[in-house]
């Protein structure tokens, strides 16, 4: 069955097609949810919510652009909605002078995907959201500012802080491993 046939089957509310679509893309969408959530149960809630929305809005997909990209946008929106419900505060950071820890590529490359996901999920909510939107989803700071109703400068500072924290954590893990 081609992707088009699968999508058309889902539009007709064919349960078998919906199940096939779920099994094909659930893993990648789960990765996105794990990046945005602070723990697995929250990520599962996000994934459930996202797929409900995907199935109810699949008739709006006009076969223009990547279907995976369309699904990812829905998952990211659901994740943002869930985080915003938690009333996450984005605090403007004025101190950018603290030195960024130096991480070598060897230390980073040794990390597995699950470890990287865990590192991201351990970030505070605001840092995590901005890091994901900028680094993983490719949004600009202006776009992030509009989505999260913050200033672009706040978005930049959150990203800087997120990188510092991640690098610090990677170094710490490297020291423990040694």
């Amino acid at each position: 069955m081609t992707e088009e046939q699968l999508i058309k089957g889902c539009v007709k509310n064919n349960v078998a097609c919906q199940r096939m679509l779920f099994e094909q893309y659930a893993g990648k969408m789960m990765t996105i949810c794990l990046r945005y959530a602070c723990d697995k149960p929250e990520a599962e809630d996000m994934l459930q919510e996202a797929f409900i929305k995907i199935f109810s809005h699949i008739h709006q997909y006009k076969f223009e652009g990547s279907f995976e990209g369309w699904m990812k946008r829905i998952v990211v929106n659901c994740a943002l909605k869930a985080i915003q419900k938690k009333k996450t505060r984005f605090v403007e950071i004025s101190n950018h002078d603290a030195a960024t820890p130096h991480t070598d590529s060897f230390a980073v490359s040794n990390l597995s995907e699950d470890e990287l996901i865990k590192l991201i999920s351990n970030l505070p909510d605001g840092y995590r959201v901005v890091f994901n939107l900028y680094v993983m989803e490719g949004y600009s700071h202006d776009e992030i500012a509009a989505m999260l109703n913050i200033q672009a400068a706040t978005s930049r500072s959150q990203l800087v802080k997120a990188r510092k924290l991640l690098q610090k954590q990677i170094l710490l893990n490297q020291k423990i491993a040694i």
Partner: protein, 472 residues
Amino acid sequence: MTENQFDEFFRKKLGDYSSPVPEDMWRRIKQRKDKERRTLLILLLLLLMVGGTTSYFIFERRAASQKENTALSQKQTNPSTNNSTQNKNQKQTIATQDSTTSSQENKISSLNNETEKSSEPGLNKNNNSKTNESKSTKISNSVIKNNVAKTNREKNLISKNSTDEMNKTGREPIEQNLEQPKNNQANEVTKQNEVAKPGEQVIAEQNNQNNLSSKDSSQKKLQNNAASKEIIIKTHSPIIKNLFVEVYASPDIPVNKISSNNADYLRHKDSTSQMKLSYTFGVRIGAALGEHFTVKTGFQYSDINEKFNYLNKNATRTVPVVITRTLTNSSGETMMLLDTSNLIQAGKDYKLSYNHYKSIDIPILIGYETNGERLKAAFNTGIILNIKTSYKGEILDASLNAADINSYNIYKNNTGVSLYFGLGVSTKLNDNFRLFTEPYVRYRLNSMTGTRQSFSQKINVGGLSLGLRYNF
């Protein structure tokens, strides 16, 4: 490693990575979809029922008003059957009267001819004429008497018609015009009694006929006038006609207001609580005071829903571990050793539950309604007295742990008085039923928590009532 390299590394590693998905995830998604479909069906059914009931009442009202209009138009063009038969009788009497008068006329004219014939020769003629005159006078008198008797009979018929009409349609008896022809007739009769000459007899007869015909037309006029003036008399008793009963239901949006001296607790409580769509339904009995004011009271049931999600990052779990070892000694005997220990696992504990704040209240409201037969605006205000409130679910206790909502007597069983403000519109479905909708606000005056608690909580509600009023 530069920032760009750092970002690129994350993108490459995690861009296409598929994480393991829980096995029951598809089942959860399917269950949720089925639940949403069921909810949608129920809402559609409810909408159909409300729409069908409303349409039924509207069409019934239109049909009833159309029936009234056709009945009215029929009455105006063709008065009631009783009246028509009575009119027939009257016409018959008039016709017979006409025929008798015409026969009398013939007699008089024949008498006159005889008088004329006999008037030519001498005294005999005079005598004859005199006798003829006396005869004719007698005849005219008898004719007049007959006419008077028949006129009286007709008067009785007319008065009978008018009383019948009044009883049927509640019309006021219109007797004024009846008096006039009566008087006219009486005057005519007296005139006729005074002067009895053949020529005048004919004129009198003609006048009688004219009176009869004019009486007939005036009678018809009366009936038309009476038909056009419809006076509807209500038969309800003065007390019960002011009463009404209402049933209503409302989806509610609750707004949680929490205050505490402990900022940390407040922050955690805020993040664990999320108000959800709630509902209220009830029944009220009311009375109209004058044209505009109303008072209402009754019973209502409310259910406020709240989502509680709690994460304990320092949760521990104790798992008993039993290790079985088999030992063989030098003599070949085997021994089994059981080594029992407890393994303490540290991790995160995530809880999700739905809390319910259920209350039974008595609303006491006064209202002001605008004038209007079909559409009315109303403003209602008053108090809502809480009878009992019960709770179900979990909340965050003072030590930031999830606890049963009924533990530590945190919440009161009676939350006191709330203020009610509502502004709505109602539309008439028929003479007894009105459909109303009323957005409202319910504001709590007292906290729902006890005085010794670390936080104070009030849940205010905004809703949209939809209901049906029955007027007695």
